[in-house]
């Protein structure tokens, strides 16, 4: 797994996919069997006794039992899924105290990353195995910052600061993509996330880093 976010996404997604396939296949199979079994075979199939006829409102039929059973089954499955969802979302919403805070600026059409030392770049370099906290803003219209392989994203909206966090678990290059339509350049609003070995990262960061100490990111926050 390439990041903390994809690590927690994948099992939940798999759970949904397998349960979804299970339910879908079972229900559609029953559906097809019923259609096949009760298809009209001319005189071989008797006319049902309660056939609705013109001039008479059809009788009500149906037993609450089947409603209750199918509801109960669904509730069991959905509770499962809800539990999984809540566990994941709580994790996503509580960033551990981060070691690297980067401000992300979305604009038409590109990304700008501002490091704690005010160093600015158009690609995002982060160290492996450290918590990265991103403060996401937009300079113009709505964008959505997402790392394709990390299975996470967050809107970049003008006038608001949104936060996401992740821990990169593997070095390499990943794709940063805009997930909210933002005009003619939307499809090209891409850049790279480069995950480096911590030592290498420190080396790089100290070279771009001015002498002064780290200071917190200044986001354009809501008035």
């Amino acid at each position: 797994m390439v990041s903390s976010t994809s690590e927690i996404f994948q099992p939940l997604f798999d759970l949904f996919v397998w349960l979804g396939i299970l339910v879908g296949v079972v229900v559609i199979a029953i559906f097809l069997i019923v259609i096949f079994k009760y298809r009209d075979r001319g005189s071989k199939t008797p006319e049902p006794e309660d056939t609705p006829i013109l001039g008479k409102v059809p009788e009500e039929r149906g037993h609450p039992r089947s409603v209750v059973i199918s509801l109960a089954l669904s509730i069991v499955i959905l509770t499962f899924l809800l539990n999984g969802t809540f566990a994941v979302i709580d994790t996503l919403n509580t960033p551990p105290s981060g070691t690297l805070n980067v401000q992300v600026n979305g604009f038409q059409w590109g990304w700008k990353f501002v490091y704690p030392n005010n160093y600015e770049d158009t690609v995002l370099r982060v160290p492996k195995d450290e918590t990265v906290i991103l403060k996401i803003v937009s300079n113009d219209v709505a964008h959505s910052f997402g790392v394709l392989e990390y299975k996470t994203k967050m809107d970049a909206l003008p006038g608001r600061t949104n936060t996401i966090w992740f821990i990169p678990k593997d070095t390499g290059e990943y794709n940063i993509v805009c997930f909210e339509f933002c005009g003619v350049g939307h499809a090209y609003m891409k850049t790279k996330l480069i995950v480096m070995d911590p030592a290498e990262f420190q080396d790089w960061y100290s070279k771009v880093k001015p002498a002064e100490a780290e200071h917190p990111v200044q986001g354009a926050s809501r008035p």
Binding site: I35, Y38, G62, E180, C182
Partner: protein, 806 residues
């Protein structure tokens, strides 16, 4: 014109321009919406061609964006709902044994407004079609980022469209609640009528939110207000307004299709629907819950995590009633005699596709998964499975089902089955691969990733297969309308009342109104019961005599044309600052024409003697003793409340984010607001006086009180105008920030309602001068106007403290 009781023949242009008969209006809706289906489909194919292979250069990004945006707008708004309402127009009156809708001329007006709104949308292509996505996300859609006129034209079209939807909803609600055949209980209504009833309720209360949002957007684009260009409003405000409408809209396009399924299944399985009661209950629950799930479209906007959890729960909960519906529909087949004719094939296919769409919807309801899936092709696949699979495919089934009724001819069964098979194959090739592209961002003009190449390739092939299949349908219906075998009145052995009249039904549908008895037996007084197994149907000969209703009016199309011209004129006026003299005169002339046409139209509409079908014994539980127009006014006013509720909601949203809101009595002077409150309250009193006098048949009293009310209304507007002028002088103009934005747009919309009231009173006075509107019965119009006027006053009572006192 209305003295003519017989509709001109079908080759007459006059018929198609002026007919108010529900069947003609239904046909107009069906044909127009099919036209939009093919326009929207062509745009979708453009999109698909561009995405066939990676790094494709078939069309430019700007064209691509216009294509998918207009595709989405057309398919959801200008195709799907109007298509469903073509059938609703045709079938609902027949199913409930009414001879037409409650307000036939208003019905024609809805259609013409719809057509003109579509023309506005298409006209925008001259200036660049809208290109911000069908969701019109702000602030991309503000003038700063989308300066072209095309979006303004489309927004104007959207406003007309919403007006059309609103009046049409009022019409259907009144019809279904008040005009059922004597004795027909709500629970005895066929499923299609049930879902149409719930659909129009959802439309009536969801669309005002979009209307308010569009008005704000137009204000931003033309006057320079700051709803969406400011951080206090901005993206989030639009998201809330749009999706409060947008989610119910999903069910608006789905419900009529499911209702048709509910009538088609029993007909083709020869057994009553299983668990009908539970299905109806589930539909009602969905309709209510649909207003409480919109937040699932905003999971990654960074709003409060607790709110996100609540929306996750409501969204997942809404899948439960659907679970009941689908299971009940499957159980309905058990021990039946399932006849696999084309309508049934489409219906069964639609259920299967809807199951897939519903299951994947649960994925998107989970906030945790949404972090990954939001904005990807997974979403595109999901909503096409629901809207096209669940909605359109079933409506095609409904088309085959009711085609013999509408045309009197049988379609070609072989071609119908071929259409079904090709559609399902095309559909699956088109949309299933999109689930596998659950990483690929949507709304991108091209992509470089080779792992998405094969799936996209399949999608494009599927798109063409699906598109060609639809041409087969058109061909089948066109050919069969000329050469098809005569269908007879009840080709499917259907059990609902539309099958009791000849195909196509005579002008007045039912010669005698059917009657429902306690045990569910339906009879035709004078013609006996449908005794032997429902074979006794009405004959054309019977149905042709005793026609007394009007079916023609030239005013609906004139009024809709006026509205269209007015919108063009208003848009033109906003261009004045940069227009040349000639252009300027032209715009002003268009505006003036719109006003004159509108005035004439209203006058003609009000004056025309139009006899519509009214049955004293019609079943109207629980509103039996409420007059029909009164009922319509009530329902309409409820939607007005939502409209202003939305403006007030936007105000609260913006105010919560604005720290430097002006202190009391600095910008807005209390005395201005207080005087106007006093004036309006007094005018409510004089409106009541008019009613009292009219019941006492005092002509002078009625005219006097109405004149007094008009005077007070004018005084209110005069005060408002001076206040605006002062504010302008102090530099508080339209474009001076969010405070003034909310003030001008909210009180401006209210002022427009006051003007509407003045126009209504002028018409009432005209009638009163001729001695109308008097007595217990005649006072009805004055009473209805009074209700409107009181609501306008009550809204002001909310606005006054919001702007002046706190």
């Amino acid at each position: 014109m209305s003295e003519e009781h017989h509709i001109p023949p079908s080759y007459s242009i006059k018929r198609w321009l002026f007919s108010t008969n529900h069947k003609d209006i239904g046909s107009l809706y069906i044909v127009t919406s099919l036209y939009f289906l093919f326009v929207g489909g062509a745009l979708a194919l453009l999109v698909r061609v561009q995405l066939t292979v990676p790094n494709n250069n078939f069309i430019a990004s700007s064209a691509f964006n216009q294509a998918f945006t207009t595709h989405g707008l057309i398919m959801v708004l200008w195709f799907l709902s109007p298509f469903a309402f073509g059938f609703a127009n045709w079938i609902v009156p027949l199913q409930i044994g009414a001879r037409d809708l409650a307000f036939p001329r208003i019905n024609a007006l809805s259609y013409w407004l719809y057509l003109f709104s579509g023309i506005l949308l298409l006209m925008s292509s001259a200036a660049g079609l809208p290109d911000g996505g069908w969701t019109l996300y702000a602030p991309l859609t503000t003038l700063r980022f989308t300066p072209n006129l095309g979006l303004s034209l489309a927004a104007g079209g959207l406003i007309l469209f919403i007006v059309s939807i609103t009046v049409s909803s009022v019409n259907f609600i009144t019809t279904i609640l008040k005009m059922r055949a004597p004795g027909m209980k709500l629970m005895q209504m066929p499923m299609f009528t049930w879902t149409i009833l719930l659909t129009v309720f959802m439309m009536l209360y969801a669309f005002p939110s979009l209307l308010a949002g569009t008005i704000m957007l137009m204000g931003d684009r033309t006057l320079g207000t700051m709803y969406f260009g400011s951080p206090q409003g901005g993206s989030l405000l639009w998201d809330h307004l749009f999706w409060f409408f947008g989610h119910p809209e999903v069910y608006v396009v789905l419900f009529p299709a499911m209702g048709a399924i509910g009538d088609i299944i029993p007909t083709f399985t020869r057994r009553p629907l299983y668990g009908r009661k539970y299905i109806i209950m589930s539909f009602i629950i969905v309709a209510l819950l649909s207003f409480g799930v919109w937040g699932h479209h905003m999971f990654v906007t960074g709003y409060d995590p607790l709110v996100a959890k609540i929306f996750t729960v409501t969204t997942i909960a809404i899948s439960l009633p659907f679970d009941i519906i689908v299971i009940a529909m499957i159980e309905s087949l058990v021990k039946g005699k399932v006849r696999l004719k084309t309508p049934m094939l489409f219906v069964l296919g639609s259920i299967a596709l809807f199951i897939v769409g519903g299951i994947t919807g649960v994925f998107l309801g989970s906030v945790a998964l949404d972090y990954a899936l939001r904005g990807t092709y997974f979403v595109v696949a999901h909503f096409h499975y629901v809207m096209v699979g669940g909605g359109v495919v079933a409506l095609f089934g409904a088309f085959y089902y009711w085609y013999p009724k509408i045309t009197g001819k049988m379609y070609d069964e072989g071609l119908g089955k071929a259409h079904f098979v090709l559609s399902v194959i095309g559909f699956t090739l088109l949309y299933f691969p999109m689930f596998m592209n659950y990483e690929m961002p949507r709304r991108v003009v091209t992509f470089t990733e080779t792992q998405w190449a094969f799936t996209n390739y399949l999608s494009t092939i599927g798109g063409f297969v699906f598109g060609l299949a639809q041409i087969l349908m058109l061909y089948n219906f066109y050919e069969s309308s000329k050469t098809g075998a005569p269908a007879g009145s009840n080709p499917w052995n259907g059990f609902t009342l539309e099958w009791a009249v000849p195909s196509p039904p005579p002008q007045n549908d039912f010669d005698v109104t059917p009657r429902f008895s306690e045990d569910g037996t339906i009879s035709l007084p004078g013609l006996g019961a449908f005794a032997n197994g429902g074979t006794h149907t009405m004959s054309t000969a019977h149905a042709e005599h005793g026609i007394m209703e009007s079916h023609l009016s030239q005013w609906p199309v004139a009024l809709a044309g006026a509205a269209f011209t007015l919108i063009l004129g208003i848009l033109g006026v906003t261009l004045l600052p940069t227009a040349s003299f000639i252009e300027g005169m032209l715009y002003l002339w268009i505006l003036l024409t719109g006003f004159i046409l509108g005035g004439l139209g209203l006058y003609g509409f009000a004056k025309e003697k139009f006899v519509s079908f009214e049955d004293e014994e019609a079943e109207g539980w629980p509103f039996k003793h409420v007059a029909r127009v009164r009922m319509g006014v009530w329902v309409f006013l409820a939607s007005e409340v939502i409209l202003f509720g939305t403006f007030i909601g936007a105000y609260i949203f913006i105010r919560a984010g604005t720290l430097d809101w002006p202190a009391i009595n600095t910008v807005f002077q209390i005395q201005h607001g207080a005087i106007n409150t006093f004036i309006l309250l007094t005018s409510s009193f004089t409106a009541v006086m008019a009613l009292v006098y009219s019941k006492r048949e005092s002509k002078a009293g009625v005219i006097g009180s109405l004149l007094l009310t008009i005077f007070l209304g004018l005084w209110f507007l005069y005060n408002k105008a001076t206040e605006w002028q002062e504010l302008f002088h102090e530099g508080h103009t339209f474009d001076s920030g969010v405070v003034m934005s909310t003030y001008y747009i909210t009180t401006g919309a209210h002022g427009a309602h006051v003007i509407g009231g003045l126009a209504a009173m002028t018409i009432l006075i005209g009638g009163a001068l001729k001695g109308r509107h008097m007595g217990e019965h005649g006072s009805e119009n004055i009473h209805n106007f009074g209700l409107y006027w009181h609501i306008v006053d009550i809204i002001w009572i909310f606005l006054f403290p919001l702007f002046y006192l706190i």
